[in-house]
Amino acid sequence: MGQNERVSPVNRTTAAASFSVSFTVGLYGVAFGAAGIAAGFSLTQTCLLSLLTFSGASQFAVVGVLGAGGSAISGIATASLLGIRNALYGMRMAPIMKFRGFKRVIGAQVTIDESTGVALGQTELGVDAMRQGFWLTGIGVYIFWNIFTVVGALGAQAMGDPAAWGLDAAVPAAFLGLLWPRLTNKRERTLAISAMALSLALTPFVAAGIPIITTALLAVAFGWKSRP
């Protein structure tokens, strides 16, 4: 096994981190697959979102908005606002990965929270480990996320009425699970409560989907000044 000579303990550390992140995050795909079906998307549409959009929060958002009766435009807009951070990850990773041509297409598609996070976590191990972490995690999450999306979607299809199985509560719980680790200080917690209140207050008066995207203005207001 000539390959083994090149696998240093450093690379094993990176590979282990990549695999555990890929598998754990990929499991969330079950929740997304079920959410897509519960929101009224077909099996094909749900799976295509995981294959093509491949960004968890954006995917949950678009099925959430349309599931609540929102228009395609407000679903796309909400999902896209959540996807802006992937552009920032790309800018952070570009000087390290230096993608050219078709590799940039593939590399861009797997530029997400996890691939960027694992890659930056390997900084002390050198640039090769960072690249390895990015690819292993990006491709790993892609594979597991898509497999588990199919599992969740098929499971939800077999269940029938989403409410009878608690799927109607599992979707907001999944959003809360995505939100929770982002609440690290008082400003963020105040923003979260304010956004909940604003979206509920607007609900009776505007078309579905609008109350959600309107809260992006709150984020702008809260982030304008650099207080802690």
Partner: protein, 102 residues
């Protein structure tokens, strides 16, 4: 084309464009401190709104039903640092239980 298909394809196209754009422009664009701050806060606002709307509304009405019990269980699970699957399954179980009791 149905709204669902437009949403699937539109979301996917923009998601990829954003990712590709990031790899194609110098980092100095969009790295203004204010832009970075707001970008961190946008997911918090949108995810919070999604939690509230998905738990407490039905079309354009505010409703209190089994989903609120499910969300309460999710909050407890997250406070206890439970892993994601426990949070989701726990809240589904609580919501389903109330659904069948009503």
């Amino acid at each position: 084309m149905s709204a669902m298909w437009i949403a699937v394809l539109g979301t996917s196209a923009i998601a990829f464009a954003l990712k590709y754009f990031g790899h194609s422009v110098p980092e100095k664009y969009l790295s203004h401190p204010r832009a970075l701050r707001i970008n961190t806060l946008i997911p918090i606002a949108l995810l919070s709104a999604l939690v509230a709307v998905q738990t407490l509304t039905d079309k354009t009405k505010l409703v209190f039903d089994q989903r609120l019990a499910g969300l309460a269980v999710a909050v407890i699970a997250l406070t206890l640092k439970a892993p994601f699957p426990v949070v989701v399954i726990g809240s589904a179980a609580a919501s389903a239980a109330i659904f069948h009791l009503r």
